[in-house]
């Protein structure tokens, strides 16, 4: 039985990690393609029959001038590991991918509204003490919460009460966020993800994962600090049907058409 692994991204410069990640399945030796393609926005219209076509989820995160603050919490806690259970994982990006995403939003007429302000210049640091996922609003404990807890490696508890510094998941977001949208606010004192649906919260958590250092997705023990820079994001998908086409190279034209139209 083959196992997938990711070849880690290459560091191109101090601040930019090229999101060039390939997936290999050792059992077959097949290369399935760049995960980079998953990030590539597609601006062509989606036709009903184009099941395999990818539609970018126009995440835009304002590259607010950011800096890493020194770890504030007890260093022993900070060195605690992030060991993720997520298996074939992907690493997003810092500056590179965000600039890419920013262009995507602009090109599409701004599917994601980015609000400067709340988080500007701030950095949130995840620590054991601070890192509980607090839920609020309606909804029951379910997959979203479990997925959220898997992000961390700290085994962040999910609670119904919160303290400053928590990651707060709020299902009481406005209906204007739609079925899959979310609002993410990261400041020095905490993180809040608000959505109208569990799917929206789930996607907000995915974005938060991607704001953490790339090594947060490692499968082995890593040391912190675990910082996320301050942002305020409102994000809704441009397309309701978002898919991706991978097949065995050379045997199908289905994906080839997608590649042709997306490059």
């Amino acid at each position: 039985m083959s196992a997938c692994r990711l070849v880690p991204p290459q560091r191109a410069s101090e601040d930019v990690i090229q999101p060039r990640i390939r997936i290999f399945c050792s059992g077959t030796g097949l290369i399935f393609g760049d995960v980079t393609e998953l990030l590539r926005p597609v601006d062509v219209p989606i036709r009903e029959r184009d099941i395999g076509r990818s539609a970018g989820f126009a995440v835009s995160i304002t590259p607010i001038a950011w800096r890493r603050f020194p770890a504030r919490s007890a260093s022993a806690m900070m060195r605690k590991v992030l060991c993720l259970t997520v298996s074939c994982l992907a690493v997003l990006v810092r500056a590179g991918g965000e600039r890419r995403a920013g262009r995507a939003a602009a090109g599409a007429g701004g599917a994601a509204a980015v609000v400067d302000g709340d988080g500007a210049g701030q950095v949130f640091t995840l620590s054991r003490r601070r890192g509980s996922w607090r839920r609020a609003g309606r909804g029951r404990r379910g997959s979203t919460w479990r997925a959220a807890a898997a992000v961390d490696g700290y085994r962040l508890p999910v609670t119904n009460f919160g303290l400053p510094g928590d990651i707060r998941l709020d299902l009481g977001g406005p209906s204007s966020l739609g079925d899959e949208g979310y609002r993410l606010t990261v400041t020095a004192v905490g993180v809040e993800i608000a959505a109208h649906t569990a799917a929206g919260l789930y996607y907000g958590v995915q974005t938060l994962r991607q704001l953490l250092p790339a090594k947060a997705e490692a499968r082995t023990v890593q040391s912190g600090p675990w910082t996320a820079r301050g942002v305020a994001v409102k994000d809704t998908p441009r397309y309701a049907w978002r898919a991706r086409c991978w097949t065995w190279p050379g045997t199908s034209s289905r994906c080839r058409r997608w590649r042709t139209t997306s490059t």
């Binding site: 083959s2 399945c25 077959t28 989820f57 074939c88 898919a243 991978w246």
Partner: protein, 135 residues
């Protein structure tokens, strides 16, 4: 779309893929469950489709198939990540695996051998109304 027909991916790999795509907020996964090279989902009443027709792949590999419980598990796992699974059974072409499994599906009543490489064979060589059509 994930082509599990030409090369079989076990449930654990499909789940890995679901983790990955949902991280990018992709919400739909189309599974290509049958092709010339293999039939990948167990069908009640037609057991040879998967058990025989799923025993090869396009690269001389051992193939494989999903039991109905396997498939339910994939759907459940996907739903927990807000992904909808779209199943696809490919017909009327690309059915060599099915023809190899059941002779009666062939216009000459003879089951062809299984394929173990990428490719296809003619569905019918007789002078049936579909003469000249190939898979």
């Amino acid at each position: 779309m994930l082509d599990v027909a030409r090369h079989f991916f076990p449930v654990s790999q499909v789940e890995n893929y679901l983790d990955l795509i949902s991280m990018y907020k992709i919400n739909t996964l189309h599974l290509h469950l049958s092709d010339n090279d293999g039939w990948r989902i167990d069908i009640n009443g037609w057991p040879r489709l998967a058990r025989y027709g799923g025993s090869t792949d396009a690269s001389r590999g051992p193939g494989g198939f999903y039991t109905q419980d396997d498939y339910r598990e994939i759907v459940r796992y996907a739903a927990s990540r807000h992904v909808t699974i779209i199943p696809e059974i490919d017909t009327p072409g690309h059915v060599t695996a099915a023809q190899a499994s059941y002779a009666e599906l062939n216009c000459d009543g003879v089951a062809p051998p299984l394929l173990n490489r990428a490719g296809a064979r003619s569905a019918c060589r007789s002078t049936s109304p579909t003469s000249g059509w190939t898979t």
